[in-house]
């Protein structure tokens, strides 16, 4: 029994839309929905992070799938920029790769 780990929706259609178009705000993993019936309350659908079910994620809120995908793409560029800006400050090790190897890696050559 999974309780209080996600968001509750009285409208099953709305819960379905959330499950299809959103991902967990913490791990950006897929969502699951559970149909719940509790005594004295109207039935509802609870949408939760699939990884939260077995305790691997603490997320209870959601972001759109489109946002998560866009951020993943941006993150590669962010890594290159941050690495260039912070290499000296953080005393990061050099990659040990030649310029040709790095260019090949960048452009998939």
């Amino acid at each position: 029994m999974v309780e209080n780990r996600g968001q509750k929706y009285l409208d099953p259609g709305e819960a379905s839309r959330v499950q299809n178009h959103y991902v967990c705000a913490v791990c950006w993993g897929h969502l699951m929905s559970f149909y719940r019936v509790e005594e004295g309350k109207p039935p509802y659908v609870e949408v939760v992070c699939a990884r939260a079910v077995d305790g691997k994620c603490s997320g209870t809120t959601f972001v759109t799938k489109a946002y998560a995908e866009r951020r993943r793409q941006e993150s590669q560029a962010e890594l290159w920029e941050a690495r260039a800006n912070l290499r000296e400050i953080l005393d990061l090790p050099q990659s040990g790769k030649t310029a040709d190897e790095l260019i090949d890696e960048l452009f998939g050559g």
Binding site: G6, Q7, K8, Y9, D11, E14, R17, V18, H21, Y22, C24, A25, V26, C27, W28, G29, C49, R51, A52, G55, K56, C57, S58, G59, T60, T61, F62, V63, A68, R71, R72, S75, Q76, E78, L79, E81, A82, R83, N85, L86, E88, I89, L90, D91, L92
Partner: protein, 436 residues
């Protein structure tokens, strides 16, 4: 409490934690305001928490950080936002191409079904600008209080400030997110960071910064309508004092050199308006104070901590000073060589300390090499005469600072003299002054 799943997003430059200002929320109560940062790391990286606490302890009030990006918008975001059942239903702010003095919806959805109503500043139905009015609630929710009574609660957007920070001591190519929903933090942080952005010539990535919590007296009415002060611990950003000192010294030297009076106006510090007004409730994410009255005012802190006051020091660019410190470059060089003749050779430890201290002064390996080139025509301390290195050690008086996690010069004039020497080297070699 750690955050499970944060590093599982598949990001190349991942978020590894969150910096919060308040205690965790209770079952039906907001968390109380804290006077220190509550830093949560991803549960899958317990080593981060251990490493962090070995430097800062469990309740840090100041952190040594750097910004990973030069782009302002990539580094900092401040939006009005509202959420419903875990989903964002509104985000508002200024929009390029529309009136910069007004806020518009960058995103607005129907809270009942998630249908997108406005995007990028315009209503999707009519194509008209979707202006945001902070006095209009985004939706109304039904709320059951502790007394069991059901109430209708209007939900408004709150200003959410997010800043991406790299904690220097962790030495991780990953960031932690500082998040606040305080209107006063939004105003303070935006003004401080805009000033810093200008000061650094829009190149602030890698500049050593200190983020701290400082008490501010906020005036607000009490239950009887009388005005009273309440203490709030806001977030303060400042450049590392030593970096600021170097920057001021550099600016002084440049002002002396540019006797014509021509000054680059782009370097002026400007505290730009944010468009957010200080007349709203201060509702922090982690310590929502639902009963706060309207009409608050902020009194800026009047007294800074003594160790953060930066006293500009006189700089001598050229000429003799009759032995008074700081020495002009040629006199410094002469003294160093004279001292070298009388000193034993520097040990390996001393050589390392000199290298680390010079690098701390210049914040750059290249500039350290230029200084050595100016001094003795070498670019590495390995090649430099060990007696001369011993003289450098005596001049700099390196001492390890746990707070700065670096070797810093204990001689009060050494940094100014080192900078003046570099200035002279750059002038002699016909190079333009490097941007800091």
């Amino acid at each position: 409490m750690p955050i499970a799943g944060l590093t599982d997003r598949g990001l190349a430059f991942p978020q590894i934690g969150v910096i919060r200002k308040g205690a965790p929320k209770g079952e039906k109560s907001p968390g109380r305001d804290l006077t220190y940062f509550r830093v949560e790391f991803d549960a899958s990286r317990p080593d981060l928490k251990e490493k962090f606490e070995s430097y800062y302890g469990p309740q840090p009030r100041r952190l040594n950080v750097v910004f990973p990006f030069n782009d302002f918008d990539r580094q900092v975001s401040i939006w009005y936002e509202a959420y419903n059942k875990g989903r964002m239903v509104a985000r508002a702010g200024t929009v390029a191409g529309l009136d910069p003095a007004r806020n518009y919806y960058l995103f607005k959805a129907d809270p009942r079904n998630g249908e997108v109503l406005a995007k990028d500043g315009y209503w999707l139905s009519s194509g008209e600008p979707a202006e945001y009015d902070k006095s209009t609630p985004e939706y109304t929710m039904t709320y059951t209080g502790k007394d069991g009574k059901t109430r209708q609660l209007p939900v408004y957007c709150k200003p959410i400030t997010r800043v991406k920070l790299v904690i220097r001591e962790l030495r991780e190519m990953a960031y932690v997110l500082l998040r606040s929903s305080s209107i006063y933090d939004a105003i303070n942080i935006s003004e401080q960071l805009l000033a810093l952005w200008e000061l650094t010539g829009h190149r602030w990535a890698g500049v050593p910064l200190i983020v701290s919590r400082k008490p501010v007296q906020i005036m607000c009415p009490d239950e009887n309508g009388n005005r009273t002060y309440r203490e709030k611990w806001l977030v303060q950003f400042q450049a590392d004092p030593l970096w600021s000192e170097q920057k001021l010294l550099g600016m002084n030297a440049e002002a002396l050199r540019l006797a014509s009076g021509v000054v680059d106006a782009s370097r002026a510090i400007a505290a730009l308006p944010t468009g957010i007004q200080a007349d709203e409730d201060d509702e922090d994410e982690d310590y929502i104070e639902a009963e706060e009255p309207d009409g608050w005012e902020v009194n800026a802190p009047e007294v800074e901590e003594a160790d953060e006051v930066i006293e500009p020091q006189p700089v001598v660019v050229s000429g003799k000073t009759n032995g008074a410190r700081p020495y002009p470059p040629e006199q410094l060089k002469s003294h160093l060589f004279e001292a070298a003749e009388k000193l034993p050779e520097a040990s390996a430890k001393m050589i390392s300390e000199v290298a680390a201290t010079l690098e701390y002064i210049y914040m750059s390996k290249d500039k350290r090499q230029m200084f050595l080139n100016w001094l003795c025509g070498k670019e590495s301390l390995r090649e430099t005469d060990k007696q001369l290195t011993a003289a450098l050690h005596r001049w700099l008086k390196p001492q390890y600072s746990n707070q700065a996690t670096a070797y810093i010069p204990q001689d009060e004039h050494a940094a100014a003299e080192a900078n003046a020497a570099l200035e002279q080297y750059l002038a002699e070699t016909g190079q333009e002054k490097l941007p800091i």
